[in-house]
Amino acid sequence: MADLSCQFVGIRSPNPFWLASAPPTDKAYNVIRAFEAGWGGVVWKTLGLDPHVVNVSSRYGAVRWNGQRIAGLNNIELITDRPLAVNLAEIRQVKRAWPDRAMIVSLMVPCDEASWKFILPQVEDTGADAVELNFGCPHGMSERGMGAAVGQVPEYVEQVTRWVKQFSRLPCIVKLTPNITDIRSSARAAHRGGADAVSLINTINSITSVDLDLMAPTPTVDGKGTHGGYCGPAVRPIALNMVAEIARDAETKGLPISAIGGIGTWRDAAEFMALGAGSVQVCTAAMHYGFRIVDDMISGLGNWMDSKGYARLDDFVGGAVANVTDWKFLNLKYDIKALIDQDKCIQCGLCHIACEDTAHQAIIRERNGERYFEVINDKCVGCNLCMHVCPVDGCISMQRVDHGEFGNWTTHPNNPMRVNA
């Protein structure tokens, strides 16, 4: 069995699966249950200065899609609503009882040097392994100049990171908000400030849905709602891209990344790790199904690594980064055509109508008066739409038909900016 043990900026954990800073890591009771279930580490729910915040009733909104109960989850819960001392005591107690597990403490205090100087020694004193700076929460705290309000200004990110590195010996992970134009700006700022790592993505600003009877956004608090932070499976593609952008950026290349965003299975985790993440953080999936999901994540990742001959995480972490490139470098001479396996076709007609209405009119629906679906190769541009709408796995496959030549946009005659090859 592959070795899943994880070393991330000096933080050791038996596996790369951590629980993200969120309700599941709010207190000792939950965290102990998580460790019992097998989680490799936790990022303790964000601590702030006393007096502690208060939370509202009705905190979550969920997007359902096609029978999936939580395709996306939105929350308007703030940081911990317990006194600082209570949290610190519990962190100390849990870390002592579970020394092999990663204990990272998430922090959010006002954007001034004194506040950070005040809280950091107290966290360090608990025996925690690292701190994570919550520069991401897009709701509530940002109205008070914290969370995303910091994360959205690269200069603030850099400054606070500097303070943290100045006032603490602990590894510093900067958690980035996706509510920005270019994630690389914040990552570069964290890097300049001396961050040991970045974690991303925090939640995306969102309104889950609108209650058409109440004429109010959800979750609705006594008739009113506010924008919240969106997470869960629906945000994963956004997170994958942001992780990849940081992993392949010249300035931040090699900066350790702890990936967050809709991770619920070992495969999700492996995909983020292939794009350069050294550890992954999970929240929504655990909130949906409980801590037991880590069991399959451990087993599944180990079995997959065995099947690929990867002995340890480092053998595949970052393996896909080199293959993420700019559009202009893609091979324009690569050509594929859809092929419908007639033995598997159930004749639903979805490929036909998708292609007919919205693509290239490349799939016929009839032959000799009989219902029959077939690709017209001359019209097929290899867009894959039919393959995605087909409800039968493996029924529509894409067949390569080019002759292995290469030519990209940089040298294409239609490109006014082309370079002569």
Binding site: I346, C348, I353, R371
Partner: protein, 492 residues
């Protein structure tokens, strides 16, 4: 209950609680949660095969999509515009050979989307809440007679009423509904039929006269004289004869009645059946048994202790299963050909067997064995295929003791009412009324549809399609007539 050795036919074999349980809704309705789960199984096929398989052409993917978005009114309109009896069809259609049979989910897996259950979910609330979905057009002043208040007649009447015509429906029974009211197993439709008809009639412009029969109380000529158009939807009110022929087998000493070689069980026209009075005591026609069951408190309905049902269609299944549910000790269905040839679908056969009915295939009845005129047993002969594909007797005889025999060998058009007048005659072919593609009969101003005309399958859903399309044809004709009258052209 005492057991009589002979002619043991009696009511009250089960107590009311057991009867209630046995005759409870066969397929309870889906709640919203289950309906949404099922609706999400629909692939929303393009030009879906299920639509083509529905005789009324309901846009099934569309109504299912509407269910999934909680647009129940839209779903109901999809269904009921195409098929005003969408509620009862959701209960009685053999969907395994219609929409669900052609669902693409049958390929690669074997569980189609439960279309009938979803259709019921989308329509039940309309009937239950008396929701008005259709508006009558302004009155045209045209009067149309509809003979027969079955699915064909009422579908025709509703469509005509929508277009503003005044419709008089003439029904020989005491209640409207036709086969839905008199001929379908109770557990399939419960008390839905009457409520559905009340809802349908709420559109207005439809007058129903019950207890009046064509050929007895009025003639076709009368109707043609009085109304702008006539629609005939009288169904199949006759039953096929059980032609039993028999070589003389004198070893059965108690045989009191000769019966002739059976032929044409099922749809084939084999002539008028014996009147009930000429049958041995204990033998009756399944359609009469079902009609009585539907109109009688179950506890008062007599059923045999040992019942034999002869036939292989849905009527045979309904008669057999209901006999069992009434408390018959044993129910045996006997069919002369193989299971594939039965017009009852495989699902119906399996259902009957699950309910405790024994089905014997490939056996034909030869003689009633009676004791002083009372049925004691039935003699059958195993049948086999000859080289020409005909089922013939194999010479292997057996008998089944029976207190009651129910004959379900098919119904036929009783043509006397439509032909018993001095005027021009409606053309018949193969025992059914001849119509063109617009359901026009050979008599000007007379349309016909439903089982009296027949089609691929004698099904409620097909009758509804015929009634609806005939109404559209009638409407087109009346509209053309009205406009041509305005222009001074008259039609004879």
């Amino acid at each position: 209950m005492t057991r009589k050795p002979l002619g043991d036919i009696s009511a009250g074999r089960l107590n009311q609680a057991a009867l209630d349980r046995n005759f409870a809704d066969l397929a309870p309705p889906l709640d919203r949660h289950r309906a949404l789960i099922e609706a999400e199984r629909c692939f929303y096929c393009y030009d879906a095969p299920c639509i083509a398989a529905c005789p009324t052409g309901i846009d099934i993917p569309s109504f299912i999509k509407r269910i999934s978005t909680d647009n129940l009114r839209g779903a109901a309109l999809d269904i009921l515009t195409a098929n005003i009896f969408g509620g009862s069809c959701a209960r009685v259609c053999p969907t395994e050979v219609l929409c669900e049979g052609d669902c693409v989910r049958n390929r690669g897996e074997d569980k189609p989307v439960e279309i009938s259950a979803l259709q019921r979910y989308a329509t039940d609330w309309v009937v239950q809440d008396g929701v008005r979905l259709f508006q009558r057009a302004a009155a045209t002043g045209q009067r149309v007679a509809v003979v027969g208040a079955g699915p064909a007649g009422l579908a025709c009447a509703h469509e005509l009423a929508r277009h503003g015509h005044q419709v008089v429906v003439l029904e020989q029974n005491d209640r409207p509904g036709g086969l839905n009211e008199y001929g379908i197993a109770a557990y399939k439709v419960m008390d839905f039929v009457a409520r559905e008809i009340d809802w349908l009639l709420a559109i207005g412009g439809i007058e129903i006269r019950t207890g009046v029969a064509l050929g007895r109380d009025f003639s076709l000529s009368d109707l043609r004289a009085e109304y702008a158009a006539v629609f005939i939807g009288i169904g199949l009110t006759g039953v096929n004869a059980l032609k039993l022929a028999i070589e003389d087998r004198s070893d059965w000493v108690e045989t009191s009645q000769r019966i002739e070689e059976i032929s044409g069980i099922g749809a084939e026209h084999v002539g008028a059946a014996l009147p009930q009075d000429d049958l041995p005591e204990g033998v009756r026609y399944a359609v009469d048994f079902i009609a009585e069951l539907r109109q009688t408190p179950l506890a008062e309905l007599a059923v045999g202790r040992r019942v034999v049902v002869i036939g292989g269609g849905n009527t045979a299944i309904d008669a057999a299963v209901q006999s069992k549910k009434l408390g018959a000790e044993s129910v045996t269905m006997v069919y002369r050909r193989d299971p594939q040839a039965m017009s009852a679908t495989a699902a119906e056969q399996a259902f009957a067997q699950h309910q405790g009915v024994t089905i014997i295939h490939r056996a034909q009845p030869r003689r009633w064995l009676t004791d002083q005129g009372v049925l004691a047993a039935i003699e059958f002969e195993h049948s086999e295929l000859d080289g020409n594909g005909n089922w013939i007797g194999s010479g292997d005889f057996f008998r089944i003791d029976a207190d009651q025999a129910l004959l379900a060998v098919g119904q036929r058009l009783d043509a006397t009412p439509v032909q018993g007048n001095d005027g021009p005659q409606l053309a018949l072919r193969d025992g059914r009324i001849v119509v063109d593609g617009d359901y026009r009969s050979t008599l000007v101003g007379v349309w016909a549809g439903g089982d009296a005309v027949g089609g691929k399958l004698d099904l409620t859903v097909q009758s509804v399609a015929a009634g609806r399309d005939a109404a559209r044809s009638i409407h087109a004709q009346l509209s053309a007539g009205a406009s041509s009258k305005q222009s001074g052209v008259s039609h004879g």
